[in-house]
């Protein structure tokens, strides 16, 4: 048998595929039996006569949702395959009769007998195992959290159900907080936006929602993540072995996939909590063909403000909301289309009614309106060229913007300071990503494609209505990143490999004015020697580099394995923020003449062990990372509306190393996850002018360096209706800078400080508890459950910072805790 596909070169996907093969000329020859004959305009897929391919998708029987990472194992052989991000699988085997064992946690395992005498397309549906769901509270990728079989180092996978089972602040399931329970992940402190992975800054995490990058993943200044767990199917955190298809950020990838919505029946779910209410609706528009999902959340803050007798409270509005949506359309057996979107915003409208002054006049009324928003749209097209070749093409738009406006009666504020103004800032991404997977045989998979991103940064546009104040528009910066990549995944008997290569090219594009500085002095606006103007489309500066990725694993036996990984990552954009926690109005800046791309190298080594029945899974993983061209800030850096931002920045390097221990128990009444991380993260500024280096150019701990982090997550099934959730964390206090002296000028006292981060805040720890009550009524459509508990059970006042004052020349020190008490919560969740 020799299936043939004729190419029409006006057919876009084939032309694209041909183009990719031209980029990787060696790929064509490396794929046995695969040739591109441009003259004949033909792609010829050959298989040897004894080998045939089984392919298809694995879905949930009831909802039609694809199951990502479901396993298909050839019974009696060491062969198998997992479904990809779209539920597709493909396995090629010699002609024979096989029994396939298809499994996914929480679903009834199916065995399918297949007489493989020709290529076959078999779509498989699995049914939910209600008994198993009742018995297992922490649900995992397979039937355990075993790390033995996976090739990549440092990968964690979580599902929405896991996220919802954890005790949460105010009872709201939060993805960022769940990510923080993983080994090697830390944060600068409670309430801070983002997270730090293995010593990386928060801007080094590529956070993808249906492949669209998210630039600010927090609501309420950092307290809550923007991701609605009801709309999420699965998330994967890559912190060690990052495949070559990912790039653009240097330390981790958090790949979040939204649910598709049932194509079988109309359903809904939601919840009413202390902080949010949420509702998700899904169903078929055309059964088995076209489905939709819409999901929304809104906070309650402002709804109760009008009840207040305080006029100032009454007039304020503070709220945030999310809206997720997805359309999934099965066009035919070989084509699927997905359109998904996210829109979320934080809104603060603060109104100030002017008071009467002593002279009888009245202060002016003023209104501050501050909003920040994320918007993403992803259009994806899955196309199956052949049972062995799968393609996804994504077109993505992502935008983060904020606006701040002040309005008053006549342009002068109530304290006579700033008048009315409107401040806007945004970052936009336009992304095109064709991605191909070639399933050569049951042991070999080749994935290749191209990432292309057009960035547009609008750092600030300020319009002022006040006389004497100029309107300001900082230069819009554009950048184009092109990155072809290839991954080669191969399994031998005990040895597996995922080798990848990514080549990224970034150009900072005009129009732009670039300052030149006197090389004999530190950069400041006083040392600008000339300014060069670049025209529209001119490349002001380009950078490029190869990003090799390698993951090797060796299974000592079925329950023991060792792994080795190496990554090099380039990051061409930087978050500019010198506050402890990032702010919604921090800006991003692309690499250019004065700002080099961040380069991170990571070497990791791991060992995984499962107990005999896989009841317990253990892993230990060490890593060493180096960071080149990190952005640091001069002492007292002024980032406010600064046209010459480079004058406030310092080049820096750093390193990070650590060892992570993990233990999982995923079956039985008691399930849980324990991890402990020992790590160190350092920074060192490398300005050629010693006088401006931080801590005299010596290494100092990063702001989020926490050598010891211990996390314990546990669920205990009390009975059929009740279960108990617990989370405990213990962490070394983060580094801080303390006063080391004092002096007086003109009678006023001032402090002097130690080198940066020479001291540490007190260690932190916290216990959260939740009780969940669910009464499953099999004959009723409406299923309700209650969740209640206490966040910070023993009211620990963990120090976010310690700082000192000299009020009236009296030296005093204070400890500031973001959360200084117990926080009870209650939530009602429902499904219908």
């Amino acid at each position: 048998m020799k299936p043939q596909i004729m190419i029409k070169f006006n057919s876009f996907p084939y032309a694209l595929f041909f183009f990719i093969c031209m980029i990787f000329p060696t790929l064509g020859s490396s794929i046995n039996g695969f040739t591109v004959e441009s003259k004949m305009k033909r792609i010829d897929f050959q298989t040897t006569q004894q080998h045939f391919t089984v392919s298809g998708t694995i879905k949930d029987t009831a909802s039609g949702e694809t199951l990502l990472g479901a396993n298909l194992i050839v019974k009696g052989q060491r062969k198998g395959v997992s479904t990809n991000e779209y539920g597709f699988y493909s396995i090629t085997l010699p002609q024979n009769t096989y029994t396939f064992q298809v499994s996914y946690l929480g679903y009834v395992t199916q065995e399918i007998e297949v007489n493989l005498s020709e290529n076959k397309k078999i779509d498989i549906s699995l049914s939910v195992d209600t008994n198993q769901l009742d018995a297992v509270e922490i649900i995992v990728e397979s039937n355990s959290k075993s790390q033995v079989k996976s090739v990549l180092t440092g990968v964690s996978t979580l599902k929405a159900k896991e996220i919802k089972k954890l005790p949460a602040l105010l009872g709201e399931p939060d993805i960022t907080r769940v990510v923080l329970t993983q080994a090697g992940v830390s944060t600068i402190g409670e309430g801070a936006s983002g997270f730090n992975v293995r010593g990386g800054n928060i801007d080094q995490n590529l956070i993808l929602l249906d492949e669209a990058p998210i630039y600010n993943s927090s609501h309420a200044w950092g307290f809550f993540s923007i991701f609605n767990a009801d709309a999420i199917k699965k998330l994967t955190l890559y912190k060690g072995g990052i495949p070559a298809r990912f790039g653009g950020r240097a330390s981790s990838v958090l790949d979040i996939r939204q649910r598709e919505g049932s194509d079988k029946q109309f359903k809904g779910e939601g919840g009413i909590g202390v902080l949010f209410s949420r509702l998700t609706l899904e169903g078929p528009i055309k059964k088995d063909k076209l489905s939709f999902l819409v999901s929304g959340r809104r906070s309650y803050f402002d709804l109760f403000f009008p009840l207040s007798s305080d006029e100032e409270v009454k007039n304020n509005k503070i709220f945030f909301y999310d809206f997720n949506t997805k359309l999934s359309w099965t066009l035919n057996d070989n084509n699927k289309l997905f359109v998904s979107g996210y829109f979320g915003a934080d809104v603060m409208k603060l109104k100030y009614d002017g008071e009467e002054k002593s002279d009888g006049t009245k202060e002016q009324d003023e209104q501050i309106d501050f909003q920040w928003k994320n918007t993403t749209t992803t259009v994806r097209w899955n196309h199956i060229f052949s049972p062995k070749l799968f393609m996804n093409v994504s077109g993505i738009y992502s935008r983060y913007n904020y606006s701040l406006s002040s309005e008053n009666d006549s342009g002068g504020g109530p304290v006579g300071s700033s008048g009315s103004f409107l401040w806007k800032s945004s970052i936009e991404n336009f992304i095109f990503k064709p991605d191909f997977t070639f399933y050569k045989n049951s042991d070999t998979k080749i994935r290749f494609g191209l990432n292309s991103t057009l960035y547009k940064f609008s750092p600030a546009k300020v319009e002022s209505g006040e006389k004497g104040v100029n309107s300001i528009a900082l230069e819009v910066e554009k950048g184009l990143e092109i990155a072809p990549y290839v991954e080669y995944e191969k399994k031998w008997n005990q040895f597996s490999m995922n080798a990848g290569l990514r080549y990224s090219l970034f150009s900072n594009i005009g129009p732009q004015n670039v300052s030149t500085y006197d090389p004999n002095y530190p950069k400041s606006i006083a040392t600008i020697t000339e300014t060069t103007s670049y025209g529209s489309g001119d490349a002001t500066k380009s950078y490029s580099g190869f990003e090799p990725r390698l993951a090797l694993s060796y299974s000592i036996n079925d329950r023991k394995g060792v792994k080795l990984g190496f990554n090099r990552m380039y990051q061409y954009i930087h978050l500019i923020s010198n506050t402890f926690a990032a702010l919604p109005f921090d800006i991003w800046k692309p690499a250019g003449t004065h700002l080099k791309p961040l380069i991170v190298n990571q070497l990791s080594l791991g060992y995984a062990y499962d107990t005999e029945n896989r009841k317990y899974n253990f892993s230990v993983e060490g890593y060493f990372k180096t960071f080149e061209n990190i952005v640091e800030y001069k002492d007292g850096a002024d980032l406010f509306l600064n046209e010459n931002l480079e004058t406030q920045l310092l080049p820096a390097k750093g390193d990070s190393y650590g060892i992570e221990f993990g233990a999982y128990k995923t079956t039985g009444k008691l399930t849980g996850h324990f991890n402990y991380t020992y790590s160190a993260t350092r920074r060192k500024t490398t300005s050629s002018f010693q006088s401006e280096n931080i801590s005299n150019g010596d290494y100092y701990p990063s702001n989020f360096d926490r050598p010891h982090i211990l996390n314990l997550t546990s669920n205990y099934k009390l009975n059929k209706k009740w279960d108990l959730g617990l989370f405990f964390t213990y962490q070394t206090g983060r580094p801080t800078t303390y006063p080391t002296g004092k002096f007086y000028i003109d009678g006023t006292s001032y402090l002097t400080y130690s080198d940066r981060n020479k001291y540490r805040n007190p260690d932190t720890h916290r216990l959260d508890l939740s009780f969940n009550y669910a009464s499953h009524k099999p004959n009723k459509k409406w299923q309700g459950s209650w969740s209640f508990g206490v966040y910070n059970v023993y009211g620990r006042k963990n120090a976010f910072s310690t700082y000192s004052t000299l009020n009236k020349d009296q030296f005093k020190a204070y400890k500031f805790s973001v959360i200084g008490s117990q926080i009870p919560f209650i939530a009602y969740n429902f499904k219908f």
Binding site: V462, E692, N703, T740
Partner: protein, 274 residues
């Protein structure tokens, strides 16, 4: 109904009440450092420099350095360099020139301070800018608004000071620093000093055109004053605070290239008295 209302409001605002600040103790080591601070002002004046060593945080007076050698240098736009001053009277770390000088517009000035241990501290060369006159001023709701005509040709930085007097002397003074980022070249530009004294008596206003280095120094100094004056709120140690920084300006120890605490500023001063 009122109960429910209050509970709802309390729940919604609860995040605010979860934060907590409490007094604590710090175990820190005293690390002595040298401070050098002074400004050269336009017009005819004496010139003063303060030199001292820092003291522990629980001490209540300076540790003056009275045995330093200080020189003030100048350089004309043509590159001619000369010593302007090197003879000072010394009292408690304050070095006051024995004669008055009149700095020259467009000239560069710098200081060199040699300590007894041989270490030499040198400031960067600071230019005397043209004076930007105060064209108008008004007090509105505890804010002093100074009208100026900001020169368009280059970035300008301002140090503005106001002091109120009674018959016994100064009763309140304050200052601010401003860059012209928001009003560069605007003929109707204005500078504000907020939280000024509400007082009908005598006052003086000074608006100084300063260098970028001096602007940055006073900016850091103002941030620290704000932090230091905090009582027990979390404004200085909260989520969005920046790391505390030393008040280092433009004076460098030439032997190890470390920047000293303090600053040498050259101020082109416009004055108003009432």
């Amino acid at each position: 109904m009122n109960h429910l209302k209050n509970i709802c409001i309390a729940l919604c605002c609860s995040l605010v009440f979860f934060t907590c600040t409490e007094e604590t103790t710090l175990k820190t080591d005293y690390e002595p450092q040298i401070i050098i601070y002074g400004n050269l002002r336009s017009g005819t004046h004496g010139f003063g420099i303060f030199v001292a060593q820092t003291v522990p945080v629980d001490a209540y007076k300076n540790n003056p350095v009275n045995d330093a050698e200080i020189s003030l240098f100048t350089k004309s736009p043509d590159g001619d360099t000369s010593v302007v001053l090197d003879d000072f009277t010394i009292e408690e770390g304050y070095y006051e020139s024995k004669e008055q000088i009149t700095p020259v517009l467009g000239n560069y000035y710098w200081i060199e301070v040699t300590l007894k241990d041989g270490s030499v501290y040198k400031s960067t060369e600071e230019k005397l800018n043209p004076i930007v006159p105060i064209e108008s001023h008004s007090f509105i709701d505890y804010t002093l608004k100074l009208g100026i005509s900001d020169p368009e040709s280059e970035s300008n930085f301002y140090l503005s000071e106001v002091a109120f007097y009674d018959e016994f002397g100064t009763i309140f003074d304050t200052f601010s620093v401003t860059s012209d980022a928001l009003f560069n070249g605007n003929e109707d530009s204005f500078i504000e000093i907020i939280d000024v004294f509400d007082y009908d008596g005598s006052y003086s206003i000074e608006l100084s055109s300063v260098s970028y280095n001096t602007f940055k120094f006073y900016q850091k100094l103002l941030i620290q004053l704000d932090v230091n004056s905090a009582d027990d709120d979390a404004g200085s140690g909260g989520l969005f605070a920046t790391p505390p920084v030393n008040l280092k300006g433009n004076i460098v120890n030439t032997s190890n290239n470390k920047t000293a605490i303090g600053n040498f500023g050259v101020l082109a001063v416009s004055k108003y008295y009432e």
